[in-house]
């Protein structure tokens, strides 16, 4: 077995440590600023996992995943702000709305395959971005973003003192998504998803309808993304059109490639690393570390996208499988050493 027998206890222990950190007195995570950063990172970790479900496990390269994430954010926010809905009911409605949206757009996109599929999903995602940023119907407030009405969300999530609860909320969502993704990928439908990725023709020869399962994977990952979106709404305090942009989907793709597809923990790790690096590299580059460098090197280095893009190129070219892939290769070598 490639799996290390202590991997599950280890993951549980790591999660428990992260959950306790804000309460353990003086450590980096007791500072609300970092708690906020980590909360966002956990949510991106979870979102990357839902993208992995689509891209890694089912083999569907979608460039429109951000649409369903943003739909979760905006539908929840609009129902709460404009129509005075109950917080939990609004989240539920947002998930249902997003699932229907994903079923419709997914059914249309899945008439195509491969790279064309990528482009069609990109176009749908772009349409969503346009609807949000151009403020059709006056519901989304366009580029100004849509701050959530703080009176209508549970008071435990309001205020700087309570940032630790946002942190715990995000961690809780991540654990929930992780367990759900685990359950989906180990279920019989999950086996069909993997089979579709590996050999679609064989799946149809076995008498299963490939498109039906692709659509199932598409809708499931969209519904989970909408749920994470509702979490992001609470953590970041509002919606913004950038959540719906193609850049967000591309970031998800980078996260999955960085951590390695198809291993679940790879995507989560990639998402957390990418999100934290994106924030921290920015802070680092403002500091004195690069002062002495000439401008033509310092300029690009001060842009987080440069470092992330370079890492990404190198991983795709020289280390396919990312971090988790490298781990499993090393472990495979280790296990076969004696033979």
């Amino acid at each position: 077995m490639l799996r290390w027998k202590y991997s599950r206890p280890l993951l549980t222990a790591v999660t428990a440590i992260f959950a306790l950190l804000p309460f353990l007195g003086n450590n980096p995570v007791s500072n609300p600023g970092l708690q906020q950063t980590m909360a966002v990172a956990f949510l991106y970790g979870a979102l990357a996992l839902t993208y992995d479900l689509l891209f890694g496990f089912t083999g569907l390269l979608s460039f429109g995943h951000a649409l369903y994430f943003a739909s979760g954010i905006y539908v929840t926010a609009i129902l709460i702000n404009t129509y005075n809905w109950n917080f939990y009911l609004a989240i539920l409605a947002a998930i249902i709305f997003t699932s229907i949206l994903a079923a419709l757009t997914g059914a249309a996109s899945l008439r195509t395959t491969g790279i064309t599929f990528a482009m069609v999903t990109l176009a749908f995602g772009q349409a969503g971005h346009v609807i949000i940023s151009r403020d059709f119907g006056g519901l989304t407030h366009g580029d100004n973003g849509l701050p959530i009405n703080a009176d209508r969300i549970p008071s435990i999530f309001i205020g700087v003192v309570n940032t630790k609860f946002l942190y715990l909320l995000a961690l809780g969502i991540l654990v929930f998504i992780y367990l759900t993704a685990w359950w989906i990928t180990e279920s019989s439908a999950g086996r069909v998803f993997a089979a579709l990725r590996d050999n679609e023709q064989r799946v149809s020869v076995l008498g299963l309808n490939p498109n039906r399962f692709k659509l199932l994977s598409f809708v499931l990952s969209a519904a989970l993304a909408a749920f994470i979106g509702a979490g992001m709404l609470v953590v970041s305090g509002g919606g913004s059109p950038r959540f719906a942009s193609a850049d967000t989907t591309i970031a998800l793709l980078l996260m999955v490639i960085l951590g390695g597809p198809v291993t679940r923990w790879g995507a989560v790790l990639g998402g957390i690393l990418y999100s934290v690096l994106g924030t921290r590299l920015n802070a680092l580059s403002q500091g004195s570390a690069f002062e002495s460098l000439p401008k033509f090197i310092k300029g690009p280095l001060s842009e987080p996208a440069f470092t992330l893009g370079m890492i990404f190129i190198l991983i795709v070219m020289f280390a396919p499988g990312g971090i988790s892939g490298a781990y499993y290769r090393a472990r495979f070598k280790y296990l076969n050493k004696g033979k």
């Binding site: 008439r111 195509t112 440069f306 990404f312």
Partner: protein
């Protein structure tokens, strides 16, 4: 009537710009199966080179310096495309998804490098004075830059079609689009065709970049974003690997976009996605599509 003519010609001009972006995407995808997310970088590199030529090399913009800026932009973008093909794409031979992914990385890096060097602000690209003028056709007053876009795109379309039609390498490219494995099986070096296609595609995108920075009033590292997405849409609607298809689709989308935007601001983007969905549902290969890989 005058408004109609103005919107129509503006739409065709916009379509001309879309075509410059889409033509390279279409050829590259048609021949090699590479979805090139770095195509936006070609455009931006072309625009920055054009800016450099028309501010630093020739500080007084005239018609000739603008032509020089376009050619310089095209060549710089073409050379960058060639470099990327040699250094990165070539090493991922036949790993289509990885090729697409690596171009995403290249696009990020190029935008970051340009942003780091020149800042992320919009810079105005100087144009000859007559660009600001308008001519009247009947009772319609039409800004003259539209005609420049159309003329340049038409020249490049004819040039590219002639290369494809009358040269040996063009023959190889056309054959490769239809059946690449058969062409290699006949012992013809397809690699040279790959490089040619990348250079030509990069050149068109670079020229397009210079014109786009005139159209959108400035050069910036992030300028390519929506143009690239429109390029993809044009390629899908026109059919992969078909230059004529891209040209027709670019006009269709440019004109529809302008008319929709005239009636409801912002509706244009939406209508374009609708066209895309309609074409894919009725004819998944696009209007004049040849490849199916």
């Amino acid at each position: 009537m005058s408004t109609f003519l103005l919107i129509l010609i503006t739409g065709v001009g916009l379509g001309a710009l879309y075509f410059l972006v889409a033509s390279g995407l279409s050829l590259i995808y048609g021949l090699m199966g590479v979805l090139n997310f770095a195509h936006g970088s070609f455009l931006t590199i072309g625009a920055f080179t054009g800016l450099w030529v028309s501010t630093k090399v020739f500080p007084n913009p005239t018609t000739w310096t603008f032509i020089a800026a376009m050619i310089a932009g095209g060549i710089a973008a073409g050379l960058f495309a060639l470099l990327m093909e040699q250094l990165v794409i070539n090493r991922l031979y036949n790993r289509h998804i990885d090729q697409a992914l690596v171009t995403v990385g290249v696009a990020l890096v190029v935008a970051a490098v340009l942003g780091g060097w020149f800042g992320n602000d919009l810079r105005l690209l100087p144009t000859p004075l007559w660009f600001m003028k308008a001519i009247s056709i009947g009772d319609a007053i039409i800004p003259i830059d539209r005609f420049v876009y159309i003329a340049v795109a038409a020249i490049l379309l004819i040039a590219m079609l002639s290369i494809l039609k009358f040269t040996r390498i063009g023959l190889i490219i056309r054959a490769g689009v239809e059946n690449r494995s058969m062409v290699s099986a006949l012992g013809i070096n397809v690699r040279l065709a790959f490089s040619t296609v990348f250079f030509i595609g990069g050149f068109a995108a670079g020229v397009g970049g210079v014109l786009i920075s005139v159209f959108s009033y400035g050069v910036s590292p992030g300028m390519a974003g929506s143009w690239l997405i429109y390029g993809f849409i044009v390629v899908v609607v026109g059919g992969m690997g078909s230059l004529t298809g891209s040209a027709i689709a670019a006009m269709l989308i440019g004109v529809t976009n302008q008319f929709a935007n005239y009636y409801v601001t912002g509706l244009g983007d939406f209508v374009v996605v609708f066209i895309l969905a309609a074409v894919l549902l009725t004819k998944p290969t696009g209007l004049l599509g040849k490849v199916s890989h």
